[in-house]
């Protein structure tokens, strides 16, 4: 055991030396990826979803045959501009902290008479979720360029942040992963993808500020809920329930950490 330990130390040292010498290779590939991203930055297919979402926002739907135009996203009924930059937040009418998607479910229920459970149970990219995704694209585009400004002044917001922080570090599953396994240190990559350190303001802004996004690899627009869902899938966790407090808490932790950063949504991601 003692010998193993010493050996571990020695190899650790060697490894440190080597990673210094090999960082130039990594740099080249990272630069090339940056160039690639620049080339596709113009012409984000999110625009196609955004246009569809605007129509869905204005169009009467659901058992009550009403539009979402009176939906209160935190800045008052019908105010969409800038609303996403301040979510999640506490809502008095539901006595809950809600993220954009859980809040939209509330509006769909109250204004349109739609059953939130149908939304929760629907698979991503299909049925009612397809509408949700387009509406989200529309709403977040209207905060593009705004400063992320999330409050933890309300005790429930503060509590949600603390719960989210704890969930962020919660390890489980057969690979012992937590969110922090990949997003807790500066300057790390998984394969060629940079991993923002979400425990810092800068890293959180790079993560939170660019989602929802159009995902090039799947050719789909992903909401934050879907992004989180796939993180947990890759963490080998069970399936996080759409709009659950857990997902809102994690979002609260990321969003609050990102405060002061710029909303760049919808992003364009690998």
């Amino acid at each position: 055991m003692q010998r193993n330990f010493t050996l571990g130390l020695v190899s650790g040292l060697l490894v440190t030396l080597m990673s210094i010498s090999s960082s130039s290779y990594a740099q080249n590939a990272t630069d090339d990826i940056a160039k690639y991203r620049e080339m596709i930055a113009d012409g984000n297919p999110s625009e196609l979803y955004e246009a569809a979402g605007e129509v869905l926002w204005q169009q009467p739907a659901g058992p009550k045959n009403a539009s979402l135009e009176k939906c209160d996203l935190g800045l008052g009924p019908g105010v969409v501009k800038g609303a996403a930059a301040q979510l999640p937040r506490y809502f008095k009418d539901t006595n809950q902290v809600q993220d954009l998607e859980s809040r939209l479910m509330t509006c769909m229920q109250k204004l349109q008479g739609r059953d939130p459970q149908e939304m929760i149970d629907a698979p991503f990219q299909k049925g009612p979720k397809k509408d949700m995704e387009a509406i989200v694209a529309y709403v977040v585009t209207l905060s593009k360029g705004d400063k992320i400004k999330v409050s933890t002044n309300h005790p429930k917001e503060k509590e949600m942040y603390e719960l989210g922080k704890r969930a962020f570090f919660f390890q489980g599953g057969p690979m012992d992963f937590s969110c922090a396994s990949c997003h807790g240190e500066d300057g790390k990559r998984i394969r060629l993808q940079d991993l923002p350190n979400i425990t810092t303001q800068k890293g959180a802004a790079l993560g939170w500020g660019y989602w929802p996004a159009y995902r090039v690899s799947s050719g789909q627009f992903w909401t934050m809920q879907q992004r989180l869902n796939d993180c947990y899938r890759q963490q080998r966790f069970p399936f996080p329930i759409y709009g659950s407090d857990l997902t809102v808490a994690i979002s609260m932790y990321m969003a609050k950490n990102a405060n002061g950063g710029i909303v760049e949504t919808p992003g364009l991601k690998r």
Binding site: M1, R3, N4, F5, L7, G8, S11, G12, L14, V15, T16, M18, S19, S22, Y25, A26, A29, E159, L163, R166, A167, F169, F170, Q171, G172, G173, P174, M175, D176, F177, S178, A180, S181, C182, G184, E185, G187, K188, R189, I190, R191, L192, L195, Y232, R233, Q234, R236, F237, P238, F239, P240, I241, S244, D245, L246, T247, A249
Partner: protein, 212 residues
């Protein structure tokens, strides 16, 4: 995937932790929070092979979920205890063979698949090694969460000590670093003995491209 193995280690570790508590030598980890527990319990549902037992933490996971305590002076004894428990769970190869086929090892290192709710119980689980490590330099798409493993054997040599250390490390990295980011491949049966031997070969076969 069953969590049987996890459960036995959990039992073992609870015993270890209990022993410490009785001795009174460990200051508390983050407090149990019923609200948090409920949020986690209500936040997930089982899907396919990903059951809710996956959020039942064993002692290692619980300890490492509190990085402030885990990295503290007060956490030191528990850290050593957890490393010991993990070290004791490592089995040396039943056939005495440490080095398999590096070509198969490379394929295992490349694959990051398996064990998610979209996988089946019989989906082969990859090692996902390139997600975090540079290994063969020809693969430019590698992660940097772990150290580079290029020239692993060439730099360290092929002595029995190096081989045993590496075997232990790929089996259960937490034997050396309680909160290493590396999965416990043998403990959770992510890779079988044969696959572990193949990954070993990628690192420690002098003919492996890693050592050229």
């Amino acid at each position: 995937m069953t969590m049987k193995n996890m459960k036995s280690l959990l039992a073992l570790s609870i015993f270890a932790v209990a022993a410490f508590v009785i001795q009174g030598s460990v200051s508390a980890q983050q407090a149990n929070n019923p609200k948090f527990n409920k949020m986690m319990k209500d936040g997930f549902r089982a899907d396919g092979i990903a059951g809710l037992d996956r959020i039942d933490q064993d002692a290692t996971q619980k300890f490492c979920s509190d990085p402030v305590f885990a990295g503290s002076k007060q956490g030191e004894k528990m850290r050593e205890q957890i490393q010991k428990v993990n070290m004791n769970s490592i089995k040396q190869p039943s056939d005495g063979k440490y080095i398999g086929d590096w070509k198969k090892g490379e394929a295992i290192a490349q694959s990051g698949r398996g064990a998610t709710w979209t996988d089946k119980a019989d989906t082969p689980i990859g090692g996902g090694c390139y997600n975090c490590h540079q290994i063969d330099k020809k693969e430019i798409s590698y992660g940097t969460i772990g150290p580079t493993l290029w020239n692993y054997g060439k730099l360290r040599g092929y002595s029995p000590e190096v081989i045993t250390y590496t075997w232990n490390r790929v089996n259960n990295s937490k034997a050396y670093n309680a909160c290493s980011n590396m999965p416990r491949f043998a403990h959770f049966k992510l890779l079988n003995e044969q696959q572990l031997q193949d990954v070993m070969a990628l690192l420690l076969d002098p003919d492996s491209p890693v050592n050229q």
